[in-house]
Subunit: 152 residues, 2 copies
């Protein structure tokens, strides 16, 4: 169903709006001790790779750097982002059809709670917490496979 409806603020009539999938980015931030995951404050509850929506007029790389700064106060460089993959199953997020482009980036320094932050923690890739939200278990499984193969 590629349409939904907005209410006209003047007369209340329904106004048809074309719907597209929503671009998002997630970033697997690599620290010497492991990767950073966020504990979500809202549904779906559980652990998630930090990330968020891409703004209109903003590149994927810009969104990735901005979201990581906002969520865990870690400054990344666009040039250091490595593309892991794109995840677009319409069922991957029950809230809306969100397409995630997932990057991996090495970071230094110590994360701290940013403006948007819930709790975060650092996990070795072979000792991840449960539950993982959305399709993040699959994404992290792909990450682990590529990491072990030396291809990311």
């Amino acid at each position: 169903m590629p349409f939904d409806f907005l209410a006209c603020p003047a007369c209340g009539a329904q106004v048809k709006q074309y719907k597209n999938p929503l671009p998002t980015v997630d970033v697997i931030v690599e620290l010497p001790e492991g990767i950073v995951l966020i504990e979500r404050k809202n549904e779906p509850f559980g652990w998630a790779i930090p990330g968020g929506f891409v703004d209109y007029g903003e590149s994927l790389e810009h969104a990735a750097v901005r979201e990581i700064q906002e969520e865990i106060s870690v400054q990344l460089e666009e040039k250091d982002l490595r593309l892991l993959g794109c995840y677009s199953d319409p069922a991957r997020d029950k809230r809306s059809h969100n397409i995630s482009t997932v990057y991996v980036a090495k970071a230094s320094g110590t994360p701290k709670a940013g403006d948007d932050a819930a709790a975060f923690a650092i996990f070795p890739i072979d000792a991840l917490p449960e539950p993982l939200c959305f399709d993040h278990a699959r994404i992290l499984s792909d990450y682990r496979s590529k990491k072990k193969a030396g291809t990311i």
Copy 2:
């Protein structure tokens, strides 16, 4: 500017709509003689990698297979799509902020004009036509580099 406005069909008032970048896919279709490019019938004129918009509720891979069927009547398999990269510079398409996820896929058979088709032709990767639309010269340069390095 993350908003634009729709006109209410009942009273003509302006209705604010949140804008997101629009997900698209492009596919570099590899045939024994070269890759398939489309000659665009509308502005911007020139040669382009076949592709199009991703529908709400449709995965990137599904959109890639569907667009190639519609544009050049070539049947691809989702499992044969290899991810080349994601191109999201807001200036890459003057019409709107379109984010392209670009795949590469080997194909057999003979393309023919599909429902949406303009002219198409097959080009060896070292003898591409001009002008190439959007940022497709950059995408094809990345493709050629990765092809020569054996990484795609």
